[in-house]
């Protein structure tokens, strides 16, 4: 027991250090327990991105309060720290510019919130889902499931494309039909298929029109608005439904084709559209 009273430095004893370690460890355990219980209680009541931020605030809040309250136990006076903090801060600031830069960028990102957890984004050349936003970095899960950690400074200074920030977005198809098909009928069929889909938005109304008389087909452009939350599902479902509906009505999507005329072909009669000789 004598060792507990042994002075380590100043008037801080081994006992004081043990008390400090115990309280900090207990606070970490307590913070983890609170986090787990909060997660269990709130996970189906609060959106995940809000819950993650709340859990972090609670977790780090408990630990920070515990550490600050127990610091005097090991002889660290907070008022002294404030004075020393200026000089130390300056030194640390110079020494860890990139860390501070990431930290500040992280704070600005949390305030500005151009992305949220769960959003589909592109930052620079990285595309995927935002998995987590830490104070120093942002974690992205790419569409093929790869974990990418991006320093917040890079996130903050890059062009950020958030594919789901707006409530609705538009996508389009170009559908080619044969020159012999009725384009008016084709647009009506396409409009009907779009109307049947619940998430192809009524307004802004979809647009379907002949856009180009191309080499091998008459190209119909189809523009559809869908809720951002489901736009990719809608995009995937509708294209095939349109293709099937057109084919059911005898309208086909042609292969690329070229008409070849043989100038020295014997016979010299009229030629039909396929280049075949038609008897005179």
């Amino acid at each position: 027991m004598e060792i507990l009273g042994h002075v380590v430095y100043g008037d801080v004893t081994v006992w004081d250090i043990l008390v400090f370690i115990t309280i900090v460890t207990s606070s970490v355990i307590l913070a983890k327990a609170v986090r787990i219980n909060l997660k269990k209680a709130l996970s189906d009541r609060i959106p995940r991105n809000v819950l993650d931020i709340l859990l972090k605030i609670v977790y780090y809040g408990i630990i920070t309060i515990a550490v600050i309250s127990v610091l005097p136990q090991i002889g660290i006076n907070l008022s002294g720290l404030l004075v020393a903090g200026g000089i130390v801060g300056l030194t640390i600031g110079f020494a860890s510019q990139s860390v501070v830069s990431n930290l500040v960028s992280g704070l600005f990102l949390m305030m500005e919130r151009p992305v949220r957890i769960g959003d589909q984004i592109r930052i620079g050349d990285i595309m995927g889902f935002v998995e987590d936003i830490h104070i120093l970095s942002t974690v992205v899960r790419t569409y093929d499931g790869v974990y990418i950690r991006i320093p917040n400074e890079k996130v903050f200074t890059s062009n950020i494309t958030n594919f789901v920030a707006n409530v609705a977005r538009r996508f389009e198809y170009v559908i080619g039909i044969r020159y012999s098909d009725d384009a008016q009928k084709a647009t009506e069929i396409i409009k009907k298929v779009i109307e049947e889909h619940p998430f192809a938005l009524k307004y802004p109304a979809p647009q379907v029109f002949v856009n180009e008389l191309a080499d091998s087909s008459v190209n119909i452009v189809v523009m559809i608005w869908a809720p951002s939350a489901v736009w990719y599902d809608v995009k995937m479902e509708l294209l095939w439904k349109i293709k099937v509906a057109l084919e059911n009505e005898g309208i086909e999507i042609p292969f690329p084709q070229r008409v070849i005329w043989f100038a020295n072909r014997p016979g010299g009669g009229e030629r039909d559209e396929l280049g075949e000789n038609v008897p005179a």
């Binding site: 009524k202 608005w225 489901v230």
Partner: protein
């Protein structure tokens, strides 16, 4: 009538819907067939109640919003300082709940109507809404309560201008649905300016003899701050 509380002997069948709960020796089985969709679930429960009632029509085919927009097939022009009471139809979604002594859980949600969605406002700041188009009625219209409900709307023009109203947008979290031989809600629309209005629901049945529906967010114990209503700030046409 399918609506209301049932023991574990629920059975209903018509040309659009087949639904029921049956004992399978060791457990109960819930089944439902409608719109070409088949659902079967095993109920590991010793008994209890099955509650079937209309719920907020903003859940299918997938929950992406909480708002309902009803477009009037003919616009309504309202004189300044006056009000008009009219009725419109809205789509019905049916919730099936399993209830024990301690709690209620959502077992199934389905609809016999075709859902369609729309955007009210701009893509950046508007809201996605379940969309429905309705004629305007001044008396209770006939409806199939499994498919459509009737909403009684009182539109008050508190502005100093004539206003033309062709749509109403509602927040599903404040819906108060009642059921019986019809499904109904009572709502109010207060027109503040030529293109701004506030919609609210009133917690009373459209006619006497109707029972209050169990709301989805109540059943799911989702903490919702009771909202006063929805502010239609992106136009009434």
């Amino acid at each position: 009538m399918i609506y209301g509380p049932h023991d574990y002997d629920l059975f209903y069948e018509d040309e659009d819907l087949k639904i029921g709960v049956e004992w399978r020796g060791r457990h109960f089985k819930y089944y439902r067939e409608s719109n070409g969709e088949k659902v079967e679930k095993i109920l590991a429960a010793s008994g209890g109640r099955i509650i079937v009632n209309p719920v907020e029509p903003v859940n299918l085919p997938q929950k992406i919003t909480n708002f309902l927009e009803i477009d009037f097939e003919k616009p309504v022009l309202i004189e300044p300082g006056t009000s008009v009471k009219l009725m419109v139809k809205f789509p019905v979604e049916i919730g099936v709940f399993v209830a024990s002594k301690k709690s209620v859980e959502v077992l199934d949600i389905f609809t016999l109507t075709k859902p369609k969605y729309t955007l009210y406002g701009t893509p950046m700041s508007g809201v996605v809404c379940r969309w429905y188009s309705s004629e305007i009625y001044f008396e209770l219209p006939e409806t199939n309560p499994l498919k459509e409900g009737v909403m009684d709307i009182t539109i008050k023009n508190t502005s100093n201008d004539w206003v033309e109203v062709q749509k109403a947008v509602f927040d599903g979290y404040s819906m108060k649905i009642y059921y019986g031989d019809i499904v109904g809600m009572v709502a109010e629309m207060k027109v503040i300016g030529k293109s701004v209005a506030e919609t609210t629901f009133i917690n009373r049945p459209i006619k006497s003899g109707l029972k209050k529906s169990l709301e989805l967010y109540t059943a799911r114990m989702i903490p919702v701050v009771e909202r006063k209503g929805f502010l239609m700030e992106w136009g009434l046409k």
